[in-house]
C-alpha cells in the first residue's frame, strides 16, 4: 500500500499547484497625467480587499502579480491629483488598465513648462518654482489674477487700492519695480515692448488653468525684463463638446459685473477643432483715496469700468500637431479720484488689442513651439489740476503703442543624457505719446522704436539618472533703439521753459549676454537640492530715453544714453515632499549693476510761475546688493483640509553710489524703496460636500517710501476669506471678504486702501 501512495501525493501536489496557477491573475497598467499624457511616477495604487499596494515607476507603470480572480476595489492616489477609486473584476489572466489622473489637490502640479520652455517634472529643475493650479484659484480668496500669487513665496503683490489699482504691481526677489517681472500669457509676453510692466487687470481669473512662476533672473531664456522672475499664465483648453460658465457678482462700493465663458471641442482620437470665448465686465463707483485730514474739495471716489473679451480657436491635427489663434480685446477705464470740471474727472483709459497664433508640434524627436503676435495699446490719461496760484490746467496724454513678434523654440533630445533647447525671439515695438493741453496751445510729443532680437541655447543634462541633473544655457540679445524724437508744438508759457533743455536724441543699440547654470541633486523621491547661477537684464524705456517733462520728483530730462540694467544671481535651495507635506526653500544673493535711479543735475527750474523743481535725470547708478531667503510649505491634513504658509526675507541696498559723477544726495547704503524686509502669507483651505471655505493672512513689514530713507511706510496685517457652496448641482454661490477687520494703512503717498471689501457671486455652470 505504502509503495503506491507516494506518486499519488506528488501528482496531487503538482495538480493543486497547477490549479492555483490557473486561479491567479496579473493586474497591471499605466498612470498618466490627464492634461499632458505624461507618465506619473510614484503614484500609489492599493487593492482594498487584499491590503496590498504598490507605486508606479518612472514610466508610470505598475504591476500586481498573483492576484486571485475576483472583485476588487482599487484606489489610486498621488499628491497633486484627485484620488481615484474604482472597481475591477479579475476573471482573466491579465488585467490591464490605462488611467489618467486629474490634478485636483492644492499642491504643486508635477509638470512645468516655463522653466525650460519644455515640459519638465517640477522635481527635476535646479531653480525655484511655484505653481498655482485651477483648484487653488477656485479656493484662494482673491479677486484679481495677481492676488492669487500670495500662495508663492518671494513675490510681493502690491495692490494697495484693491481692484481700483490701475495695473497691479508684482515684484519679485527684492526688486522694487514691476518692470523687472516678465508676465507671459500662454508663453507670450503680456506687456508692450516699451515700459515692460504688465496690466494684471486685463486677465480674467476664470480663464486661468494654471500659473507657473520661475523665481530669479531668467533672461537666458526670455531676454529683457526677466530680472526678478517669470510668471506664465496658462489658460484653459476646451475638452468638452460644449461647456459654459455664467457668473454675476455684486460687492462693496456698488461693484458689479459678470463673466461669461463658453467653449466647445470636437476633438476625438486626438483630432478635431476647439473654440472658446471669455468675457468679463466690471463696474464700480469706487471710494475716495485720501483720508479726511488730507482730502481736498476736488477729491472724489475712484471708479472703474472694465470690459474684456477673449476669443480663441484651435485645431488639433493629430497627437503631434496643434495650432491655436487668440484675440483679446480690452477696454478698461479707471478714475483717478479727482474731479474739477470734467464729468469723468481724472482717469486712465486703456484700450488693448492682442492677437496671437501659436503652433505646438512634434517632428521626430523634436518638439517645436512657434508663435506670432501683434499688440496694439492705446492709452488716454486725462488730468485736470489747479495750481497753487489758482491757474487751471487740463490735458490728455495719448499713448499709442504697437508691437509685433515672432517666437520660435525647438527642444531636441540628444543621445540619452541631453535635451537641447534653442530658439529665436523677436519683438518689434513702436510708441508715440502726446500730451495735448486743452487749456493752452501746447502739444508735447515723444516717440521711438525699440526692437529686440534674442538667440538662445540650453542643454538639459542627465549626469546620473534620477540623481544628478544640470541645466546650462546662454542667450544673446540685441536691442535696437531708433527713430527717437521729442518735440513741442505751439509752446506757450506752460512748456516753453523746456525748450532750452531739449537735446538731440541718438539711435543706439545694446547687446546682452545672459548665461545660466544649475545643478540638481536628488537624494530620493522626497528630497532634492539645487544650486543655480543666472543673469538678467532690462533695457531702458522710450519714455526715459526720449521724454522731458514733469514727474513727481521734479523736472525730468530725457537721457538717450541710458544703459540696460543687469543683475547676477546665485541661489541654492531644496524641495522636500513627504506624503502630504511639501516644503520648498531658497536662499539667494544678487548684485545689480547699472540700476536706473532719478538723480539731481544740480539745477532747478520754475516749471510754473511759482513752482521751482529740481532738474533730475534717470541715470545708471552703480551697484545694488540684494539677498534674501524664501520658504514655503503646504500640508494636506486630510481630504478636506489643507494649510499653506510662506515667508520671504529681502535685503535690498544701494552700494557704490558715486557722488562725484552724480550731483545728488549720496544714496550709498540706502535701501530700495517699496521693498518690505519680511512678508508672511498663510492660510487654510477647507473643502467638503457641504461648503468650501478658505482664509488667508497677509503680513507685510515696513518699507521705505523715499530714496533717502527718511520716510517709512508702516507694515500691516490683513485677513481675507472666502466661502462657497454648490446649490442645485449647477449653481455655485460664493462670498469673498478682503481685509475682514478693516485694517487702515496708508501707502507711501498717504493714500488709503479700500478697506473691508465684500464680493458676492452666483455662477451657473452648464
Amino acid at each position: 500500500m505504502t509503495r503506491n501512495v507516494k506518486p499519488y501525493i506528488i501528482f496531487i501536489f503538482f495538480f493543486l499547484l497547477g490549479l492555483s496557477a490557473f486561479s491567479q491573475s496579473i493586474f497591471k497598467g499605466t498612470i498618466t497625467h490627464a492634461y499632458t499624457n505624461s507618465p506619473i511616477q510614484h503614484a500609489y495604487i492599493s487593492i482594498k480587499e487584499l491590503n496590498v499596494n504598490t507605486y508606479t515607476g518612472t514610466n508610470g507603470n505598475f504591476e500586481f502579480k498573483d492576484i486571485p480572480k475576483g472583485d476588487y476595489h482599487i484606489k489610486v492616489k498621488k499628491i497633486g491629483f484627485q484620488d481615484t477609486v474604482f472597481s475591477i473584476k479579475l476573471i482573466s489572466e491579465t488585467y490591464i488598465i490605462n488611467l489618467s489622473l486629474t490634478p485636483g489637490s492644492y499642491e504643486m502640479d508635477s509638470v512645468i513648462v516655463t522653466a525650460t520652455r519644455n515640459e519638465k517634472n517640477t522635481t527635476d529643475l535646479p531653480v525655484s518654482i511655484g505653481i498655482i493650479n485651477r483648484e487653488l484659484i477656485q479656493a484662494i480668496p482673491a479677486i484679481t489674477a495677481d492676488e492669487y500669487l500670495v500662495y508663492i513665496s518671494g513675490i510681493n503683490i502690491s495692490r494697495h487700492f484693491g481692484i481700483f489699482y490701475k495695473t497691479g504691481d508684482v515684484t519679485m526677489r527684492g526688486l522694487n519695480r514691476n518692470v523687472y517681472t516678465l508676465l507671459l500669457i500662454d508663453g507670450i509676453p503680456a506687456s508692450i515692448v516699451d515700459g515692460g510692466a504688465a496690466n494684471w487687470n486685463r486677465i480674467n481669473p476664470e480663464n486661468i488653468r494654471k500659473v507657473e512662476v520661475i523665481k530669479g533672473p531668467n533672461s537666458s531664456l526670455y531676454g529683457s525684463n526677466a530680472m526678478g522672475g517669470v510668471i506664465n499664465i496658462i489658460t484653459k483648453k476646451p475638452t468638452q463638446a460644449f461647456k459654459g460658465d455664467a457668473k454675476i457678482f455684486y460687492g462693496t462700493y456698488n461693484t458689479y459685473g459678470g463673466s461669461l465663458n463658453l467653449s466647445g471641442s470636437t476633438i476625438k482620437n486626438e483630432k478635431g477643432f476647439y473654440w472658446a470665448t471669455d468675457g468679463f465686465v466690471r463696474r464700480s463707483n469706487g471710494y475716495v483715496l485720501y483720508p479726511d485730514s488730507l482730502k481736498e474739495s476736488t477729491d472724489v471716489a475712484t471708479y472703474l469700468n472694465e470690459n474684456n473679451l477673449t476669443l480663441r480657436s484651435g485645431f488639433q491635427f493629430n497627437k503631434h500637431h496643434n495650432i491655436e489663434m487668440q484675440l483679446t480685446l480690452s477696454d478698461n477705464t479707471m478714475g483717478a479720484g479727482r474731479k474739477i470740471f470734467e464729468e469723468k474727472g481724472n482717469y486712465d483709459r486703456d484700450l488693448f488689442y492682442f492677437w496671437n497664433a501659436r503652433y505646438n508640434g512634434t517632428i521626430g524627436k523634436a518638439k517645436i513651439y512657434a508663435a506670432a503676435f501683434y499688440k496694439y495699446n492705446w492709452n488716454d490719461a486725462q488730468k485736470e489740476s489747479i495750481k497753487q496760484n489758482g491757474s487751471y490746467t487740463f490735458l490728455n496724454t495719448y499713448t499709442n503703442s504697437n508691437d509685433k513678434g515672432l517666437w520660435c523654440n525647438v527642444s531636441l533630445p540628444f543621445k540619452q543624457n541631453h535635451t537641447f533647447t534653442f530658439g529665436l525671439d523677436s519683438k518689434i515695438g513702436k510708441t508715440t505719446s502726446s500730451d495735448i493741453y486743452r487749456t493752452s496751445t501746447d502739444t508735447v510729443t515723444y516717440q521711438g522704436n525699440l526692437d529686440y532680437y534674442g538667440l538662445y541655447l540650453q542643454d538639459d543634462i542627465v549626469i546620473i539618472k534620477n540623481k544628478l541633473k544640470s541645466i546650462v544655457g546662454v542667450r544673446s540679445d540685441l536691442v535696437n533703439f531708433y527713430n527717437p524724437d521729442f518735440y513741442i508744438d505751439a509752446p506757450s508759457g506752460i512748456t516753453s521753459f523746456m525748450l532750452p533743455y531739449l537735446t538731440s536724441l541718438k539711435e543706439k543699440n545694446w547687446k546682452a549676454i545672459s548665461p545660466k547654470a544649475g545643478l540638481l541633486y536628488k537624494f530620493n523621491d522626497s528630497l532634492s537640492v539645487y544650486l543655480n547661477f543666472s543673469k538678467g537684464f532690462r533695457s531702458a524705456t522710450l519714455s526715459d530715453m526720449c521724454k522731458t517733462g514733469d514727474v513727481n520728483k521734479g523736472f525730468k530730462l530725457a537721457n538717450p544714453d541710458l544703459k540696460p540694467e543687469f543683475i547676477s544671481n546665485i541661489e541654492s535651495g531644496f524641495i522636500y515632499k513627504y506624503r502630504n507635506l511639501e516644503i520648498e526653500s531658497t536662499v539667494f544673493y544678487s548684485i545689480g549693476k547699472n540700476f536706473q535711479y532719478f538723480v539731481g543735475t544740480g539745477d532747478s527750474i520754475y516749471t510754473t510761475k511759482t513752482k521751482k523743481q529740481p532738474v533730475i535725470k534717470r541715470e545708471n547708478i552703480s551697484r545694488v546688493e540684494i539677498y534674501g531667503a524664501e520658504i514655503s510649505m503646504h500640508l494636506t491634513i486630510n481630504s478636506k483640509l489643507s494649510f499653506f504658509a510662506n515667508y520671504t526675507f529681502n535685503h535690498s541696498q544701494i552700494k557704490d553710489f558715486d557722488t562725484t559723477i552724480f550731483i545728488s544726495k549720496n544714496l550709498t547704503d540706502k535701501f530700495l524703496i517699496d521693498v518690505p524686509t519680511h512678508r508672511i502669507f498663510s492660510g487654510f483651505i477647507y473643502k467638503s460636500n457641504l461648503f468650501n471655505a478658505s482664509m488667508v493672512h497677509k503680513y507685510v513689514s515696513a518699507s521705505w517710501a523715499d530714496d533717502e530713507n527718511t520716510i517709512k511706510v508702516k507694515g500691516y496685517s490683513l485677513f481675507d476669506a472666502k466661502i462657497s457652496k454648490k446649490v442645485f448641482s449647477d449653481f455655485n454661490i460664493s462670498i469673498i471678504a478682503e481685509n475682514i477687520f478693516n485694517t487702515v494703512y496708508l501707502d507711501s503717498k498717504g493714500m488709503l486702501p479700500p478697506g473691508r471689501f465684500f464680493l458676492a457671486s452666483i455662477q451657473y455652470s452648464f
Binding site: G244, A246, K247, I248, G257, G258, L260, G279, V281, R283, N305, N307, L309, D331, I340, F341, E342, L351, E384, Q388, N389, G390, S391, Y392, T393, F394, I436, R438, T439, S440, T441, S492, G493, K609, T610, K612, F728, D730, F731, I762, Y764, F766
Partner: protein
C-alpha cells in the same frame, strides 16, 4: 421642481448674456470735433468793438462774449502785435460760456492789433481781431513825484507794509484790512520762495503765512492787482522824467508780473495799478528781512 429649476437656469443664462452684451456695448466711441465755439465783441457805449483810434496813454475797454459749440471752452488767448507779437493773456478754463472785459492802456505804437482766440476741449477755435490806431493828436500827460515812501516788511512794528498810492498813505495790516479798495501796493520779505525783498499787491498770490490772521490778505474781499516790469532805465532817465511818455513807452502788459522780486538799491520798475495808473519807482534803500524796510521814490500819473 425640475422644470422650475430649468427655467431658473435658462433665465440666469439669458440674463447674463444680455447684461454682458449691454455692458460691453458701452465701449469706445470715436470723439468727433463737433461745432466750434462762438466769439464776439461786447457792444456797449463804453467799449471798443471795432477798429478805432485812441489817444496814447488813454485806457480803453474791450469786452468779449464766448459760448461753447458742442464742448466746453477751455482756453482764452489774447495777443497784441505791433513791432512784435506778445501774449497778453493765456489762461485755462472749463466753461460753457463767459464774458470778460479788459481795460487796456494805449501804447505808443502807431497800430496795435489785438487778437482774441478761444479754444475748446476738442481743439476747435474761434478768433476775433481788433486794430487800435494811435491818435495823432496824442499828448503826454503830467506825472506826480513822491520823493520818499518807506514801507516795512511784514514783521516791522514801526512801519506799515501797505500803500494807498493815490493818497500817499502807508498803513499797517489792521488798517489796510479796513481800506482794502485803497491798497494797491505792499512790501514784504519772502523767505519761502526765496524772492527776498519784494514789492507786490494784494492779488499777487502771497503765501498766507506772510500776512496771517483774520485780517490776513487771504481773507480780504477786495484784492487789487498792480503789475510790475523791471526796466533798464538809468537813474538819469528816472530823475529827468517829467511826463508819462517814458511810462507809456516802457510798460508792456504782456511782460508785466505781479511781483517785483529780489529788490536792491537802484532797481527801477514801471508799474500799472489796479486803477490803471502808470507809474515807476526807484529803490533808494532796502534793508533787513522780515523786520526790515524799503524806501522808494515814485513817479505816477495823477489820479
Amino acid at each position: 421642481m425640475h422644470n422650475y429649476l430649468n427655467k431658473i437656469k435658462i433665465f440666469f443664462l439669458a440674463f447674463s448674456i444680455v447684461c454682458f452684451i449691454l455692458f460691453f456695448n458701452s465701449c469706445l466711441k470715436e470723439e468727433n470735433k463737433g461745432a466750434a465755439p462762438t466769439l464776439s465783441f461786447k457792444i456797449d457805449s463804453n467799449y471798443i468793438y471795432e477798429d478805432d483810434t485812441v489817444l496814447i496813454g488813454k485806457t480803453f475797454k474791450v469786452g468779449i462774449n464766448a459760448t461753447k459749440g458742442d464742448v466746453n471752452i477751455t482756453n482764452l488767448i489774447i495777443k497784441v502785435s505791433h513791432d512784435s507779437t506778445f501774449t497778453y493773456l493765456d489762461t485755462g478754463m472749463n466753461t460753457a460760456s463767459f464774458s470778460i472785459t479788459k481795460t487796456i492802456i494805449k501804447g505808443i505804437a502807431p497800430k496795435e492789433t489785438w487778437t482774441f482766440i478761444v479754444r475748446d476741449k476738442a481743439g476747435n477755435s474761434q478768433t476775433v481781431v481788433l486794430h487800435i490806431y494811435s491818435d495823432t493828436n496824442s499828448v503826454y500827460g503830467n506825472i506826480n513825484t513822491i520823493p520818499s515812501i518807506q514801507l516795512g516788511a511784514q514783521n516791522n512794528t514801526s512801519l506799515g507794509s501797505f500803500l494807498d498810492i493815490k493818497n500817499n498813505k502807508v498803513h499797517p495790516l489792521s488798517q489796510a484790512y479796513m481800506l482794502q479798495d485803497s491798497i494797491e501796493i505792499l512790501y514784504y520779505y519772502d523767505a519761502i520762495q526765496t524772492d527776498a525783498n519784494t514789492i507786490a499787491s494784494p492779488n499777487a498770490n502771497l503765501d498766507p503765512s506772510v500776512f496771517p490772521g483774520n485780517e490776513g490778505i487771504s481773507n480780504w474781499t477786495i484784492k487789487n492787482e498792480t503789475r510790475y516790469i523791471k526796466t533798464n532805465l538809468t537813474n538819469a532817465d528816472f530823475e529827468n522824467c517829467d511826463n508819462d511818455s517814458i511810462l507809456i513807452a516802457n510798460y508792456n502788459e504782456t511782460l508785466a508780473k505781479r511781483k517785483a522780486k529780489n529788490l536792491t538799491t537802484g532797481d527801477i520798475y514801471i508799474f500799472r495799478t489796479a486803477k490803471n495808473k502808470l507809474g515807476m519807482f526807484k529803490v533808494i534803500q532796502v534793508s533787513g528781512q522780515e523786520s526790515g524796510f524799503i524806501e522808494i521814490k515814485v513817479k505816477i500819473q495823477p489820479s
